[in-house]
Amino acid sequence: MDTVLEATDLTKHYEDFSLRGVNVSVRRGSIAGIFGPNAAGKSTLLRMLAGQTPVPAGTLRVLDQSYADAERDLKNRVGYVPQEPVFYENKTVEWHARLAAPCFARWDGAAFHRLLEDFRVNPLKNVKHLSGGQKKLLSLALAFSHGAELLILDEPTAGLDIVHRRSLLDRLRALANAGDTTVVVASHITDGLDEIAEDITFLHDGRVVLRESADDLATKWKWVIYKEGSIDRAVEERFAGVRRQPFGSRGLTGDFPAVREALAPALASGDARLDHASLEDILLSFIKGA
């Protein structure tokens, strides 16, 4: 398997926060989602992965290189969108492209202008007249216009309206499906990014608490909706969260294959049924449990 990004044991300490022993591995042509609540360390991690901040401890290989040895080459091949891009407020969108263009060997000005058109961002507008979402779109357009093989996007859907969010998700999926582009996204809300992410990393308090493919998550995590008393107490006690409701209780299991047999009679009799667990349900159970 072709790995484009391999981070091992990344650690960084701040006065009031630490990222500890984080491992990330990203396959070429895949979409990796890094989720977690506010202040979980996602932006710090992404800034490290994008070569924006040094890696004090641990190892990081990006496209088989390190930022220390090949910063210029990697900056060309890695597209990065910060959480809150800061531009020259008094200068136009186009001016910023002129500022960025000479720094990229494969800058494609025509592609940049097509993207601005798609994103409905006027290139002649001053940045101070753009909304937060439009600044995000400008940042995305820059990252998409220099032939990057790896896109590292911090909260890419934040501030976007439903139309732009949907078109961004479609674009990311199409890029990854084409096989050459790899995408890493971080978000504090699932917001549609959970639908396109194939590998999920959940970061909480500076640590990775879950690392799994979306397929495995879907196999392992289920809501069990059951009639009171219809299932084994031992199974019920292991549910991550139980909500008792008048029309039946709901319990979340994170290891469905292990309890499948115990649940079989209730499932067969109709006293219990299964429901899809969303990524949000799963992540919430980790936060509450922590």
Binding site: R72, R98, L99, L142
Partner: protein, 123 residues
């Protein structure tokens, strides 16, 4: 007008960045005391190596176009636009002197150069 600068441009990257910011200051798009994005913010937003931006900002500061105050960031220096014009004029004069001298060897006069300049302006 959309000028596309490129890596093929003879000037190094930081110089192209520096020149654009200087132009913006000279034209008044960036005004004295305007806050500039920090090296970190700009290199993040443009996804450009911090070294390129740092070098550009250092040069701008050395030449008096911007000021960096510890903990507060970088600002456009409170220089009068007339002073900037004077400085640019001195630069142009120096370049012209060189140009006139080297052209004279080929029988191209200062008058010819002035005519060419007007033509270029007319385009």
């Amino acid at each position: 007008m959309f000028v596309v600068l490129s890596p093929a441009h003879p000037d190094p990257m930081y110089k192209q960045v520096t020149d654009q910011i200087k132009d913006a200051i000279a034209s008044g798009d960036l005004k004295p005391n305007d806050r500039l994005p920090s090296v970190r913010e700009l290199s993040e937003a443009l996804n450009v190596s911090a070294i390129t931006i740092k070098r550009a900002y250092q040069d701008l500061e050395t030449e008096g176009f911007i000021l960096t105050r510890a903990g507060m960031g970088s600002f456009v220096a409170p220089v009068e636009r007339d002073a900037l014009r004077e400085r640019k004029l001195a630069e142009v004069q120096e370049e012209l002197r060189r140009l006139v001298r080297s052209s004279a060897k080929f029988g191209i006069s200062a008058g010819d150069i002035a005519r060419l300049a007007r033509q270029i302006e007319g385009n």
